[in-house]
Amino acid sequence: MSDTENPETASEVRTENTVEADEFEPIQVFPESEEMDLRPGSDDCYKCSTCDTNCPVAAVDDEFPGPKFQGPEQWRLKRKDDHDIDDSVMSCSNCMRCDDACPSDVPLSQMHNTARGSFVENQMDKLSREYVRNRILANYGALARLGSKVPRLTNFVMGNSVVQKFNEKLLGITSERDFPAFADETFRTWWKRRGGVAASKKRAQDARAERDGANVESDDKRVAYFHGCYSNYNTPAVGKAMVRVFERFGYEVMVPPQRCSGTPMFANGMLDDAERAAEVNVRELAAAIEDGADIVASCTSCSMSLRQEYPELFDFEGTASVAARTYEALEYLRVHEDLEGALDDAEIDGEGDAESENFAYHAPCHARNQGLAGQAVELLDRLEGANAEDVGDSCSGISGTYGWKDEKYDTSMQIGAEMFDHMESVEGETGLTECPTCAMQMEHGTGYEIRHPLEVLEEALVD
């Protein structure tokens, strides 16, 4: 789990955990065993219900029994031969706030993920509309790969209200939301066109030379970018900003082959899909670590998945190493560079004749879990011309694919209501967040333009 509360010691703390895990680590005992036994995790629960009071779904949905029931209680009631999982586990949005809320380290989201995986595998009809819909949503990355080959056509078709109604009626995907548009050019295409890692090496060297006056070869400053699906297919501007900002600090950026981080697959109980994707990601990222890179993600759900869910659910060679060496982009720069100093010396222009630009910042739940909830506001406070205001600690309500489901849409919007309200009271009409689906929700609820902190950093720091 994240150690980011102590950034100054983070590099010492986050060494690879290669010691043989405790003898009784459930996934270590019989690696070939498909079943995970998390009953011992219930030992840590003393029923205080803090998780329930922090659950955004339980707050608006009286039918949802909450994380304490879903996790430690349901696991503890299990006997070896009991396989039925209560279907309410499908109402959990996997925001993972309960992990953070628990004062006693109950592995709640691990329990929910495994219970949901088991429910989907053993109890959900594979021909049902819900299963097909969830499988499609969970595998957004694979569909996006196809759709983005002909982005204009796809955007036209998906934006068509007839198609949206069709999606709702046939698949149960809400027609209330506009399908996110595909970019004309994916991030990876841009990256290749720009010259790939060789070009990045050159730019990083130039930046170091400009700053330090020496054209040193340095293997130390190398990061592997985990862009995830959304920055690649939908918002390549975020990916480009990441590359340019890191190069500005003298980092050579690598972009290893990669698949979806697995976040939407966990949330839909598609653990086999997630495992296949994770295997590729761990292999490729572990290779990058071998080459001397740390892993940096721009999406906080992607970094959450690599850091916490992979080691909790899988056991590939290198999983622990990847988890220990993964960072969110701003976090990485705060730990390793004088990002604060750089921002002190920089400025951005407000839009039009405004003196400064105001950002309504929402911290995604998964950023919160990594201890990153405060960093964007703190950093932008130092930047002249920027004024970021935290819109409160509620969940945005969309939770990835959750808010796309027809039957969950209302719940999703009820959860988001507080955030919308607070956004409205911030001056200006620009939102800011690290999570692509929180961004969709923020835009959907307020009509604001939503940006990523890296884009602001790019504007401030990159010429």
């Binding site: 009784f24 011992p40 030992d43 003393y46 503890r76 009991d82 999982i85 209560d86 006693s104």
Partner: protein, 565 residues
């Protein structure tokens, strides 16, 4: 002699309840008296093992044969109290090979199905077993809930006309010099169902025959009649873990020793045990070393136990007996066999028999033997049917149901409820009323609590043993008061308060010797919650609360809706 002699059974443990059922089914008029609630003595303080006989297969083959025979019977007649977990005798690297072979041969000699498992196979079945496993023998051990089994026996006895009086302590056994003529009991409240704050009375119960089935207390009952029953009570400590680390019974395959068994019991695992002779079955030291020994020794077998959460510990007293003059020094060597002591033959006191020794697993067989004995005396020709007729709850049933559809319960709650209630599930759970979960840890709903209150009055410990409410990881912190409030309005507030106090005290008693780590946090949280929300850390004085002034909840809401219409 009349064909319906009146027999008094002293002791509401497994043996006493078994005897009451057996006799009642044969048409004998039976009254059972028990000083606490059912299972109050040794029955409620065992580790819940349904013996396959494997444990006695080397040292005591006669007992082993009885065990496997009764094991098969109980799986049949008490299926809702029994879980067919299977068991293993596990040999670790340094444990003697010879004993392993002896054990295997012993099982085969006694017709106990036994199969050798490789280390790999043993760990595949029980992943938390230590890596030091050499091999194991698989036997048909099981887990049994002694509470529900006893309650079901008593309920069936009642159904066949028996009178069951709990909280009725025998204060004297009445004799006319040559014959026992009855007993005098002191009712804690009543007679009848227990009601706190209600004064009890003494009652003389005349009997044609008295059976002393008081277990470790049999010597005391014997003394009241002036006969010597030399029970040698031996205490054993057990530790309850928060959750199941194993799903089969895990025994260590060594000749004999303390702390050599882990039994999966309902939602928990129970570690056992020690064997130390004591003077008085009610007053003996509960020592910390016994608890520590369980964890130290058994974590060699199941290493996760060292770090795992304990919720409580308890001690039971075995009613061991050996014929006068045997003089075995070490209580672990005393036979586990049972003895029927007819005091007419032995002490020239007619109308009185004691049954001593024995094991929980063979309770029914013991009951059958003594019932045969009594029936023979009175010329009752009916034969024993207890091995064939299922207990109430164990008539045909399946736990595979659509819990949401049928009972409106979430699946793990419905499943646990049906596992507990067996064939009674429909009667108990289909009330047509809202049925919230009152005990979250053990998934016990209001309907089940109310059913138990119907059976046992204000005795919340009796409700507890019927339902498992308050037996989970919070040890009643979140549910004792919910259980107590179900007593109202049938019983009034002072009665509910007294019942709540008693349940709390009982819960706390067992927590004291296993209070560290998470369970200590739990106790602290329970204390804080009860002190701050119910003022239970202070003497409430005689403040009367106007309960009528409180919002009654759903009904008002309902009315409001109706008003709106």
């Amino acid at each position: 002699m009349a064909s319906t002699p009146h027999t008094v059974v002293v002791g509401g443990g497994s043996t006493g309840c078994g005897i009451a059922r057996d006799l009642a089914m044969r048409g004998v008029d039976v009254s059972l008296v028990e000083k606490g609630n059912l299972t109050h003595g040794t029955t409620g303080r065992m580790h819940g093992l349904l013996h396959s006989g494997g444990r006695y297969a080397v040292s005591d083959q006669a007992s082993a044969r009885e065990c496997i025979e009764e094991n098969r019977v109980l799986r049949d007649i008490a299926s809702h109290c029994v879980e067919l977990t299977g068991g293993q005798f596990v040999q670790l690297e340094d444990d003697p090979d010879e004993y392993f072979e002896e054990k295997l041969q012993g099982c085969r000699d006694c017709d106990i199905p036994a199969e050798v498992l490789s280390a790999e196979e043993a760990r595949e079945e029980e992943p938390y077993l230590t890596k030091d496993v050499k091999r194991a023998i698989r036997v048909p051990d099981g887990a049994v809930d002694p509470f529900r089994l006893c309650v079901a026996n008593a309920a069936d006895a009642q159904r066949h006309g028996a009178r069951i009086e709990t909280h009725a302590e025998v204060v004297d056994v009445l004799t006319d010099g040559t014959e026992v003529t009855g007993v005098e009991v002191r009712h804690d409240s009543g007679p009848g169902k227990r009601e706190h704050v209600t004064p009890g009375e003494r009652e003389r119960i005349d009997a044609d025959y008295v059976i002393n089935a008081a277990g470790a207390w049999a010597g005391q009952i014997g003394a009241m009649a002036g006969v010597d029953v030399a029970v040698r009570p031996s205490k054993g400590a057990m530790v309850v873990m928060n959750c199941r680390q194993v799903d089969t019974v895990v025994n260590r395959c060594v000749p004999k020793g303390d702390a050599d068994i882990v039994v999966p019991h309902e939602t928990t695992a129970i570690l056992g045990t020690t064997d130390v002779e004591v003077e008085d079955p009610e007053d003996y030291p509960e020592e910390q070393w016994e608890v520590d020994l369980m964890i130290d020794e058994l974590s060699k077998l199941v290493p996760i136990l060292r770090e795992a959460r304990t919720v409580r510990s308890f001690w039971g007293v075995r009613p061991l007996y050996e014929p006068p003059g045997t003089g075995t020094a070490d209580p672990t060597d005393i036979t586990r066999d049972y003895f029927l002591l007819d005091h007419d033959d032995r002490d020239d006191l007619a109308g009185f028999t004691s049954i001593v020794g024995g094991k929980f697993t063979t309770y029914r067989m013991m009951a059958e033997e003594i019932s045969d004995h009594v029936c023979e005396k009175f010329g009752v020709s009916a034969t024993c049917r207890t091995a064939d007729e299922p207990l109430p709850g164990s008539e045909d049933f399946s736990v595979l149901r659509d819990y949401m559809e049928e009972f409106g319960l979430r699946s793990p709650i419905g499943r646990r409820s049906v596992q507990r209630l067996g064939s009674r599930a429909d009667d108990v759970l289909k009330t047509g009323e809202p049925n919230p979960v009152l005990c979250d840890c053990e998934a016990v709903t209001r309907a089940e609590i109310r059913d138990a209150i119907d059976q046992s009055g204000t005795d919340l410990n009796a409700v507890r043993i019927r339902t498992r409410a308050s037996m989970g990881n919070c040890q009643g912190g979140f549910c004792c008061h919910r259980m107590a409030s179900e007593l109202h309005p049938e019983y009034d507030a002072p009665q509910a308060d007294a019942a709540l106090d008693e349940l709390f005290e009982e819960r706390w008693k067992g927590e004291r010797h296993a209070l560290w780590g998470e369970q200590l946090s739990q106790a602290a949280l329970n204390y804080a919650l009860h002190a701050t929300t119910m003022n239970r850390d202070r003497d409430p004085g005689d403040a009367t609360v106007d309960f009528g002034a409180f919002d009654s909840g759903a009904d008002d809401l309902h009315e409001e809706v109706n008003h709106g219409d």
